[in-house]
Amino acid sequence: MNTASVSLGASVSSQSRFMQLVLTAFLGLFVVGVVGFSHIEVVHNAAHDYRHSMAFPCH
């Protein structure tokens, strides 16, 4: 399990590393937010069964 200590992009400075990870997390939140939580009707209807199946608040 020595791979556990190997980090992705180890030579990146810690500040840039922090920013990139925060950016990635927000990208993920944005994607989930649009597909699962958007009030736009077309988006809601397209992902309707998915939203119900994920127990996202719907309707």
Binding site: S7, T24, G28, N45, H59
Partner: protein, 256 residues
């Protein structure tokens, strides 16, 4: 932006795999229950509020009573475009599963990198359990999975409570797992409990044409499919990441 690229690469693979797995499980476990609920929805009055005035939804129910067979073809009458039943509807579900699977994977990989990264499939399973607790279990306690035609409180309020609960539970679990001190653990537990003391927004009336048994079946199906989704997502992230860093240890600087 190489770290960013690596994280996106791992998340894309894991999200694709877990999303496809979840879509397959939904096709057998949750989608049939949604279709059944839609039959009750059409028979027992229309309760999709969709920010429409209550008067509009009653006229909706009245008008849908007469031409029922024609409207049965469209899953969401009078509500703009919707995928046609059958393949198209399923295809959009699969797409939503994969896209959000990648979204959840991005969050999971980014957060786990702060804690040193997921080192293998077994660590991934535990991270997956945490993701399940944060995104399914905690919000599901206050806002259980709903079927179409089930009464619910204002959408905006529920979505706000949902995200607040996810954030509080994630922060609480993080404090318990990584701070390793008693006061922080107590604070973590308080954070996890707090949203449920505040309470999820509840509908004014729980009257619904959906049978209790059908809803219970749906809650079980949703919870279990989500559990498997998160375990697969975590495990695949662990496998892909260790392959990636394993073969790349000497090449690490060129990747990073």
């Amino acid at each position: 932006m190489n770290l960013f690229r690596n994280v996106v690469f791992i998340a894309a693979i894991a999200g694709l795999v877990a999303g496809v797995v979840l879509a397959c499980m939904q096709a057998f476990a949750t989608d049939p229950l949604i279709y059944q609920a839609e039959v009750f929805e059409k028979a027992g009055g229309h309760q999709h509020d969709h920010a429409a005035a209550p008067a509009a939804s009653t006229t909706n129910a009245m008008s849908s009573a007469a031409p029922a067979p024609a409207e049965a073809a469209a899953p969401m009458e009078d509500e703009g475009w919707a995928p046609a039943d059958g393949f198209e509807r399923f295809a959009f579900s699969v797409l939503a599963n994969i896209v959000t699977g990648i979204g959840f994977a991005l969050i999971l990989v980014a957060v786990s990198e702060f804690a040193g990264g997921i080192g293998g499939w077994r660590q991934g399973v535990f991270w997956g359990l945490a993701g399940f607790a944060v995104f399914t279990l905690a919000p599901g306690l206050g806002l259980p999975p709903e079927l179409p035609a089930m009464p619910a409180a204002d959408l905006m309020q529920r979505q706000t409570w949902w995200w607040a609960t996810v954030a509080a539970t994630a922060a609480g679990l993080g404090l318990i797992a990584f701070r390793k001190s008693l006061p922080m653990t107590i604070l973590g537990v308080l954070l996890i409990v707090a949203p449920h003391i505040v309470g999820a927004p509840q509908p004014e009336s729980f009257e619904t044409p959906i049978p209790e048994g059908l809803h219970h079946q749906f809650v079980v199906a949703v919870t279990l499919t989500n559990l498997v989704f998160w375990l697969v997502l975590g495990a695949v992230v662990g496998v892909v990441r260790s392959r990636f860093t394993g073969t790349a240890t000497s090449l690490r600087d060129s990747f990073a």
